[in-house]
């Protein structure tokens, strides 16, 4: 009869980019249960919605997370635009699509680096972040900020991107595609990487459905759902198919995210071909009144935004259900029965973003 012991994991741990605490109940080296606790970095951003003008709150919504910053701001704006029945110009929609996909690209490259760092492959981590830097340069050249874009506003975008700059991005991404493929081939084919990822932390399709998993974590278990198919921003004019895998282990999640990198490059190419000329913003008059649920596909999965407005310049309620929060139950399920040394892989492959989760 083995003895049970509890190992505290986090909130400060070398593999964790952000603080989450897990109490791992172990039988020898095997995890039998994991008890999570979150709340280390709660900032009260949602309650600020009652203190800031609804137009200015866009800048606060962007600061919910440093990685999906653009998508948080955009989703908030789209939700308010729906309430106020504002139809934004087509060009603004395409710009939103392009910036969303640039965010997804740099988020997935960041995650690949963190994963490589998690299993101790330092040089792969650096290669991944070297490539990510090129994407950040594109974001900075077009928005003015490396991560926090601050180009969203209710009624469109604050800045336009010249067409030749967009064409430059497409050309650069085409060049980068070769480098990215070379780097990601290591993730998919290398013996050492495979031995850390294959068959580890399997989440079955039924479990993913029952536990409400979202994003690449869910698609790696064989569920072909992608919120982008609902057609917010300009996604209704973009051809894309959800990328799935039937295996459901850490390798499958890596595979799905890697394929999504190439899918994002393709979406940016499609958007650059179709983007029309014209204005990027329409004037906004009056105050919103009503409520709306906005669903977007972030790099980590589906995020839900609830906005309730009361006809004044302050909103009643703003609520975000972030993808990491939805993926935590699935992650705890995969942790059961795994080895202690595999715990970092399990946590990293849901791509946790605790700042979003706690806001």
């Amino acid at each position: 009869m083995s003895t049970r012991s509890v190992v505290p994991f986090g909130p400060q741990h070398p593999v964790l980019p952000e603080p989450i605490h897990l109490d791992l109940v172990l039988e020898d080296e095997k995890v039998v249960e994991a008890v999570p606790s979150i709340g280390f970095i709660h900032r009260g951003l949602e309650s600020l919605v009652g203190k800031k003008d609804f137009n200015d709150y866009t800048y606060i919504a962007e600061r919910i997370c440093g990685i999906c910053s653009f998508m948080h701001g955009m989703s908030y704006c789209e939700a308010v635009e729906h309430i106020m029945n504002i139809e934004i110009p087509e060009r603004a929609k395409y710009l939103r699509t392009i910036w969303c996909e640039l965010s997804r690209l740099h988020s997935h490259l960041l995650w690949l680096g963190l994963l490589a760092d998690g299993f101790g492959f330092e040089s792969l981590f650096m290669q991944s972040w070297r490539l990510r830097e090129n994407i950040l340069d594109m974001v900075e050249a077009s928005t003015g900020g490396r991560l926090i874009s601050s180009v969203n506003k209710i009624g469109g975008q604050l800045k336009d991107v010249p067409n030749d700059m967009i064409r430059g991005f497409v050309a650069k991404l085409k060049d980068m595609e070769k480098d990215i493929r070379e780097m990601t081939d290591t993730f998919l084919n290398d013996y050492t990487v495979n031995s850390r990822l294959r068959g580890v932390g399997i989440l079955t399709k039924q479990q993913a459905l029952d536990l409400g998993a979202v994003g690449p974590f869910m698609r790696a278990s064989g569920i072909a759902l992608d919120t982008r198919k609902r057609g917010y921003a300009a996604y209704s004019n973009i051809e894309l198919e959800p990328i799935t895998s039937d295996i459901g282990d850490c390798y499958a999640r890596t595979y799905v995210r890697i394929q999504e990198i190439f899918q994002s490059i393709d979406i940016i190419r499609q958007a650059a071909e179709k983007i029309p000329d014209g204005e990027v913003a329409v004037p906004v008059k009056g105050f919103p009144s009503g409520e709306y649920f906005m669903r977007v596909e972030q790099p980590r999965g589906e995020a839900i935004y609830y906005v309730k407005a009361n006809g004044t310049k302050f909103l009643d309620r703003f609520r975000v259900r972030t993808p990491t929060f939805a993926n935590l139950p699935g992650m705890l399920e995969t942790l059961k029965g795994c080895q202690l040394a595999d715990v970092p892989m399990m946590i990293l492959t849901i791509d946790p973003c605790i700042s979003c989760t706690e806001r």
Partner: protein
């Protein structure tokens, strides 16, 4: 399993320049749009306080009586909302980021005394008397706005 799978990467790394930059020695070329810090043209500023009200980080303070405009450099989040909302377009974003410092810093800009509006009716409207206006265009428009607000 191929032990030479990294040979190409290794050779490339041996004969290529570093991907990083020796930062302080080799300064960074910022893109044109980089939002590094807020720049003010204090001569054009009318101290209306719109930037201060719009700032999500409450980093900007405007003192109409003293004729000063101040910004907490490390409190500013470089969102650019002040630049967008400035009615006189006297604010802009500079490219370089604020340099690291051992202490938090507040930069204060004072409007030149000769540009401050002379007191009109000190007893009735002390706030309006201290308000600074540029000499040329807003001379007639600004008092009208002031009256509307009071009414």
């Amino acid at each position: 399993m191929n032990i030479f799978s990294f040979a190409k990467t290794e050779l490339k790394n041996l004969f290529s320049t570093p991907a990083t930059r020796a930062y302080p020695l080799e300064p960074r070329n910022y893109p044109e749009r980089t939002r590094g810090h807020v720049v003010i043209d204090i001569n054009t500023c009318v101290l209306c306080g719109m930037c201060s009200r719009k700032c999500p980080a409450d980093a900007i303070k405007v003192d109409r009586a003293a004729g000063t405009w101040s910004i907490e450099r490390f409190g500013c989040v470089q969102c650019g909302n002040c630049v967008v909302s400035c009615p006189k377009k006297c604010l802009s974003m500079g490219q370089a980021y604020t340099e690291p410092d051992a202490q938090k810093r507040t930069d204060t800009f004072t409007k030149p005394a000769d540009q401050m509006k002379p007191p009109v009716a000190p007893a009735a409207k002390p706030a309006a008397a201290a308000a600074a206006k540029p000499q040329k265009p807003a001379e007639s428009a600004a008092p009208a706005a002031e009256e509307k607000k009071n009414a």
